[in-house]
Symmetry: C2
Subunit: 397 residues, 2 copies
């Protein structure tokens, strides 16, 4: 056997612990509440949720109560059926695989997460993008989907296989009008996929009211789960298609796997810590979505405070509808050009103050998320930015 020095893998610890303020744009909604850390440890072994598996599928396990949870989660989202997936990305691939065939077209918004594009690519689908409004708001006007559906129909002779909307996008944190698009989708009779990775678990989501056929959620992004784990929720109409069970049969052995979900790996790889922590965090998530308005208010206050720094401009929708926020910061970018640490100066100034999550080296645009931070913590972040600005002689109004 080859000799390897493995010391670097011993005592592996994350550099950022709880004494830090973490404003990483993709992390705020996935932080485990204290009670889920106990659950994480208890269910730490990979197959820990499979001790009493009778049916051979994680969503049917009764101890721990995954079967009940799947039903409660469907009610919470106001959808008919849910399954768990290896991340929201896994849900997208399963949906496209089950309702489209190679060469079909899907329409998505031009702010969609890259995994929506990859899901199309892996399924050999054509894509049509709905434009955004460009600088500075980058809005998606969902009315534009109608023209795109007409265009696809004209060019291909058929309706698109599906339309996908990113409820809140990861670049500007813009909230798009999912309910309005639900009406358009219904008018055209086109399956409607809503990627709610940044909303479900943070704000109340009512799938039926939004008129969606498929609702995709992310446990580790917005449901305080360890993960990676996604949620694929759908209606009775589509459940049979996307949750189609296996029909393959061993030609010699006669073996068959009638309970296994074909498009979800048979039993999706979410057993163990991902599903256990998604469950244990659910009571906490159920309560926190009721306080979404407070989060939005904190976000607006934060924007106001940061825009007191010269040449700090919030991009995306105004006023803020979400806690994920992007600023363009030409004043800081100018500093980086002269600073011996170049673009890393900001990252390092924040690090010194135990604030983590700004992309190292980035100063032209700053993306961050303040979801779930206390007012005191947000004040510390504001103070840090103001201090850094003043250190480099940038005016703070």
């Amino acid at each position: 056997m080859v000799h390897l020095n493995l010391d670097k893998y011993k005592n592996l610890r994350r550099e950022i612990d709880e004494s830090w303020i973490n404003i990483h744009p993709i992390q705020r909604g996935g932080i485990l509440p204290p009670e889920s850390k106990e659950t994480l440890l208890s269910f730490g072994d990979g197959y820990s949720t499979c001790d009493f598996c009778i049916e051979g599928r994680i969503d049917l396990v009764r101890t721990p109560p995954v079967l009940d949870f799947a039903m409660d989660l469907a009610k919470f989202l106001n959808m008919d059926e849910v399954r768990f997936t290896p991340g929201a990305r896994g849900a997208k691939q399963a949906i496209f695989r089950s309702i489209a065939k190679p060469g079909d077209t899907i329409i998505l918004d031009s702010l969609a997460h890259y995994t929506s594009y990859i899901a199309a690519e892996v399924n050999d689908l054509k894509i049509v993008e709905v434009p955004h409004s460009g600088y500075p708001e980058f809005r998606i006007n969902v009315e534009d989907y109608a023209a795109k559906i007409d265009e696809v129909k004209r060019q291909t002779g058929a309706l698109p296989a599906a339309i996908l909307l990113t409820h809140v996008d990861y670049r500007y944190g813009n909230l798009s009008d999912a309910a309005r698009l639900g009406k358009i989708a219904k008018d055209y009779g086109v399956p409607y996929i809503l990627n709610a990775a940044y909303t479900a678990g943070l704000m109340p989501i009512d799938g039926k009211k939004l008129g969606v056929d498929f609702l995709i959620c992310s446990g580790h992004k917005s449901m305080a789960a360890s993960g990676p784990i996604g949620v694929l929720a759908t209606t009775y109409e589509f459940a049979g298609k996307v949750f189609r069970t296996s029909a393959i049969k061993g030609p010699w052995s006669g073996r068959a796997f009638l309970k296994k979900d074909v498009f979800l790996f048979g039993c999706p790889p979410v057993y163990g810590a991902p599903i256990a922590t998604l469950m244990s965090s659910f009571p906490y998530v159920y309560e926190r979505v009721k306080r979404w308005d407070e989060e939005v208010n904190k976000a607006r206050w934060f924007v106001k405070e940061l825009e007191r720094i010269r040449d700090f401009h919030q991009l995306g929708q105004r006023p803020r509808q979400h806690t994920l926020i992007t600023f363009e910061t030409p004043s800081f970018h100018k500093i980086s050009k002269k600073h011996p640490r170049k673009g890393f100066f900001l990252y390092e100034e924040l690090k010194r103050r135990k604030i983590a999550g700004i992309h190292p080296g980035m100063t032209r645009l700053i993306k961050l998320n303040i979801y779930g931070l206390t007012k005191e913590q947000i004040q510390k972040v504001i103070d840090a930015f103001h201090e850094i600005a003043r250190t480099y002689e940038i005016e703070v109004e």
Copy 2:
């Protein structure tokens, strides 16, 4: 919002803790060593390994040292390149998707894990099974692959897209001759996939010596990782195909994702606890595979002791080459027919002795795994079975 009673999800704990002896057939190789429990907690939040992600793909992250780890793991397995996947099942789907097209045929052993069949089904592939020898040994004779390859060629005019062998199967724990099949695959020029979910991480595996093109491993099954996480290892020859990066482009936006692996969800959903614990357990796994012979010896001793019970017969290869063991137990099955608790009597008798992992209700066949148990623990399991036998007046020799 709908009102839900969520008390059952609070303080979620696994029923089986460390005071139990767990002989669950799929769990023994995935139990975290103590040092990885600390890592699990530290990296508990879903995107915890993404704090310093620059390249946008988990296998390229340098802090924690995933990039180094991917290279060390490739050396450990003696393969050229590795990627991480949502379970071994994810690796199978990615391989089939990248090297076969709908309608192609793959050959697999008739003891293959169901996810190998599902991977074929989701990719619209035809399957041909290599028979096993039937009762009582259920051996796969890898020489039979040659005849099946000829048969496929005769019937379809082309070689099969791939052949897949399950290194150790999950039903009888039989170890098949992977190296011999490597030679056959080479002779025919057919891509060769080895599913080493029950071997890599338990016993030393040398992919080059076995002549495999694709080596599939399971972190939560055999590499002491929390997971779910799989490993897809391949050669330079196939890396470009199975690890093909994205080529899709937003037709309006021009967006592209050139670093993302198309068949692995862009960045595979293994970030956070799965990859962190796979890494932190690696030094432990690296050492333990050197002691595989001791494990096999313990398994043989265990079989000898259990076969002292009247009508206990070990199924599968003799002598044992693996710690996953199936017994047929007609004497216990007879008890279940008269027992007020029916087939559950055995499960409950074991539970009373804090031994977990036997499928509840099953008495005709008993499947278990003693990997990594101490001799004292194994003795306790033996004593428990002997005691239960005597309780129901079944002779123990």
